[in-house]
Each structure stands twice: as structure tokens, then as C-alpha cells.
């Protein structure tokens, strides 16, 4: 059934279709409508799970950790400061191997206060052990939540579904809402790795030896490496039921491209237009859309790094004292390519600044001409 949904509502509908047992969430702009809709659906009896109206994001994640250990399927959504406030608990969820799924509506981080979208909030959670999937439209938001549960629960790794604040969260788009029985077919009930059992009492999370800790982390890393395979198989199942297909990365007009723009999030839809215009001008432009930031899809990315290809990486975050975060990740992932490709870093749209077709074309042209230095970040500001 097609409906016109804002991104935040696609989030809530996804959680409802996934038959989540426990939601714990705290309101923050621009995420609020997602939890409001969950509350509304619960009031109407459409959402059967519990919605715990916690007093903070830190407690939201703590409550989900408790619920997931008890064997429940869990969900929350947050944004910006809320995600930063959860930081400690993100590590705890991943280390406890709990397949919690969360939507984060991208918004910059203060100070100063900023309401508009960039990727600083999510990218600064890079090392928490969560998968991070970025979305480019509202259909992808809903589908990603279903896919996230399927993948997370097979590997017991939590997953963050990320959508741009306002650009997606508050923008209405037509979304195909799958039928509940189709979702049930795709998503079997959650079987936890270990759940609280009164008859077989066990302690979870007790203090290990260094050797045990090392091995637990090693296993976590090994399982994170398995995501690609599990993702691909899950996408095949998804495609056979719903007819839509996703990849950890997606290339657009890349096969003969000489300079490829790389980015995550809804800005990729603008970049497609920029690529089309550049192509019309006879330029060999392409777009590499990074859906998964964690795990970082190094293998797929290497497939695009043919000899002579340059990459123009667009960051909507900045690691002070270094560079844009995706730029650094790209350089690290492609370091072993022979020949090593030219990789150029651009920062734009921090705190919600417009990233227009013109700006993207300018970025492409600078990289195509090999203008920026290898260790330079180019800060691009929209002219208007």
C-alpha cells in the first residue's frame, strides 16, 4: 500500500511492522514525530509493544539493553545531542551483543546550538561497534529498519538507521508500506543469543580476565566481518518478497567515470542530478553512494578504484585536528590499491548548509583537475 510519509513516520511504521516488543525513547528535534507516531499507534492498539517514556537518551538505551537481555525485540530513535548522550550505552549494547535497532535523525552537534542536519552526531559514534546505514529516501528508511532487524539478529550486532534531519525526517514522500504478513515472512521472531532464565541463572557482563576480554572483542570483530555476506543474503530474501534491493554501496554512472563523488545520506539524490548534468557536458562523472559506513565496505570500494580514477569525498562532519571523517576512511580503505587513486576531501553543509548541484559540480571539477593537496581539506560554502 502506497502512502505519503515523512521520514520520521517511515521510521515509526517500520518499527511497528517489525513487531517491536519494547520502545524506549526521549524526544529531540528533529526526531520527535517518530516517537509521537509510535505513541499514537499504541493508543490506537496498532502497536502492541511497550513504549517506555524514559527521562533521557542514556536511560533509553539502558532500558533497551535490559529488555534485549530479557529476550525482547527493541527500538529507539534519537538525534544529535541525544545520540552523543547515549555514547556509553552504545558501547555497552554492542559489547553485550544485543541486536538493538535505532533510527538516528542526523543533526549537527553543539556548541553552538544547531538544529539542522549534518553527520557529526553519527560519525562520532564510529567506534561503538554499531552498524551504521545511511538512507537517501523515505522508502529506504522503512525498508532499512526491516533489513536491520534481519541482519542484526543473525549476528547479534546493533544497527543504526540514519536519515537526514528535516531533508528526510520532515519531508513527505510516497512510500510503499509492505503488508504485515509479508514482513512476518521476512522477519522471524527474535531468538536471543542468551536470555534471562530463572531456571538456569547466569550473570551477564561480569568482569573478565584480559584474555577473555580480548577474545570477546576478537569474536565481535570476526562477526562484524560477516555482515557483508549476511547482508547480501538478507537483501536477496528482501528482494524476493518486496521487490526492492539494496547494497552496502551503490554506484551511479561509475563504469567509465574518471572522477567519482563519494558521500552518504540524502545529498546523494542531489549528486545524481549533478552527475547527469556533468555527463551532459561530456564529463566522465560518477557517484558512489555509501550506504553502510560501518562496516566500511572496503572490498566494494576497491572495485571502483580502477587505475586513473579519482575520488571527491564529501564530508558533512569534521574531525578537528585531522580531516573529514569519510575522507579519512576512504584514504585508509584504498591505501593498498595499486596504483593508489587520487582522493580529495571536501567539507560542506555543516549545520544544515545547502549542498546544491552547483556546489557539487564545483567539487567534482576541483577533484577532476587534481587541484587540492593530498593532505588538504577543501571547505566549500554555498555562494548564496
Amino acid at each position: 500500500m502506497k502512502k505519503t510519509l515523512m521520514g520520521n513516520h517511515a521510521v515509526a511504521v517500520g518499527a511497528k511492522l517489525a513487531k517491536v516488543d519494547v520502545v524506549a525513547a526521549y524526544p529531540i528535534t528533529p526526531q520527535t514525530q517518530s516517537v509521537e507516531l509510535i505513541a499514537e499507534m499504541q493508543a490506537k492498539g496498532e502497536f502492541k509493544g511497550r513504549y517506555i517514556k524514559v527521562e533521557s537518551e542514556h536511560s533509553a538505551m539502558a532500558a533497551l539493553i535490559g529488555a534485549a537481555i530479557a529476550g525482547a525485540r527493541t527500538f529507539t530513535s534519537t538525534s544529535s545531542q541525544g545520540l552523543a548522550y547515549m555514547h556509553e550505552m552504545l558501547h555497552w549494547a554492542a559489547g553485550s551483543r544485543l541486536p538493538i535497532v535505532m533510527a538516528d535523525v542526523n543533526r549537527g552537534l553543539g556548541a553552538p546550538w544547531i538544529l539542522w542536519s549534518d553527520q557529526s552526531d553519527t560519525l562520532s559514534q564510529r567506534d561503538t561497534g554499531w552498524m551504521q546505514w545511511y538512507c537517501a529516501d523515505n522508502q529506504e528508511v522503512l525498508d532499512s529498519i526491516l533489513l536491520a532487524y534481519r541482519v542484526s539478529e543473525q549476528l547479534c550486532i546493533p544497527c543504526m538507521i540514519i536519515l537526514d534531519g528535516f531533508t528526510l525526517s520532515h519531508t513527505y514522500e510516497p512510500v510503499d508500506i509492505p503488508a504485515q504478513e509479508k514482513v512476518d515472512e521476512f522477519l522471524p521472531p527474535y531468538k536471543p543469543m542468551a536470555a534471562i532464565d530463572i531456571d538456569k541463572p547466569a550473570t551477564v557482563g561480569s568482569l573478565p580476565s584480559s584474555k577473555d576480554y580480548f577474545r570477546i572483542k576478537r569474536r565481535q570483530a570476526i562477526d562484524m566481518d560477516k555482515i557483508e555476506g549476511v547482508f547480501d543474503r538478507s537483501v536477496e530474501e528482501f528482494a524476493s518478497i518486496f521487490g526492492r534491493r539494496y547494497g552496502l554501496t551503490e554506484g551511479y554512472r561509475c563504469s567509465d567515470a574518471e572522477t567519482i563523488m563519494v558521500m552518504a545520506g540524502a545529498v546523494a539524490t542531489t549528486a545524481k542530478e549533478a552527475v547527469d548534468q556533468l555527463r551532459q557536458e561530456g564529463k566522465k562523472a560518477g557517484l558512489l553512494y555509501l550506504r553502510s559506513f560501518r562496516p566500511f565496505p572496503t572490498k566494494q570500494l576497491k572495485g571502483y578504484a580502477k587505475p586513473g580514477v579519482r575520488f571527491a569525498v564529501l564530508d558533512r562532519s569534521y574531525s578537528q585536528g585531522h580531516h573529514g571523517i569519510i575522507f579519512e576512511e576512504m584514504k585508509s580503505a584504498l591505501y593498498t590499491c595499486n596504483p593508489r587513486p587520487g582522493i580529495y576531501g571536501f567539507v560542506a553543509g555543516l549545520g544544515g548548509g545547502d549542498i546544491t548541484v552547483e556546489l557539487l559540480k564545483e567539487m567534482w571539477a576541483e577533484a577532476d583537475a587534481g587541484k587540492p593537496g593530498a593532505d588538504e581539506t577543501v571547505w566549500l560554502e554555498e555562494a548564496r
Partner: protein
């Protein structure tokens, strides 16, 4: 992989703690050892009640302190209403 013993896929993702701490014998913490004078003991079981180690056995109807676990805190001797428990240097030390 020489620096890693075994197959990391076989490492436990979650390590649950299910074995009892009673495998650990804390009796070697002790410097003072309680001794019950059963001729004076009234079997009131206050020593059992207040033992933080839960190591006073009462199954026989009179208290027996399990020296595998007793840390020698002395609460039993201090609280005993008939003062029938004495704390003495532990000969094992």
C-alpha cells in the same frame, strides 16, 4: 595465525557466568579462627544469621562453621549471646 590460539569463530561472543563462587575457598583470607564451645552453645543460630559468608552450617541442629570459607571476621563471636565462640590465631598460618 601464530599470535592467536584457536579459531576466533569458536570464541564465545557472550560469556555467561554460571559457575558458583563457592568453588573459591576464601578460608585462606583468615588470620583469626572461630571456635565454638558447644558445651555453652544454646543453638540460637545468631552466628548463622549474621554470617556474611553464609558459611555456618545448621543442618545438624547446632552450628558448624565451614572453615573452607570463614574469613575470620569475628561477627559470630562478637554477637554470640552466650559468648561461646572464641577467636584464636589460625594455626594454619
Amino acid at each position: 595465525m601464530p599470535r592467536l590460539e584457536g579459531d576466533p569463530n569458536q570464541f564465545e561472543a557472550i560469556k555467561l557466568s554460571t559457575r558458583s563462587m563457592s568453588e573459591v575457598h576464601t578460608g585462606n583470607w583468615r588470620s583469626l579462627k572461630p571456635a565454638i564451645d558447644h558445651s555453652k552453645c544454646t543453638n540460637c543460630m545468631i552466628c548463622w544469621k549474621y554470617c556474611p559468608e553464609a558459611c555456618v552450617q545448621i543442618a545438624t541442629g547446632s552450628p558448624v562453621i565451614d572453615m573452607n570459607y570463614c574469613k575470620g571476621c569475628g561477627i559470630c563471636a562478637f554477637e554470640c549471646p552466650t559468648k561461646c565462640i572464641s577467636m584464636n590465631a589460625d594455626a594454619g598460618l
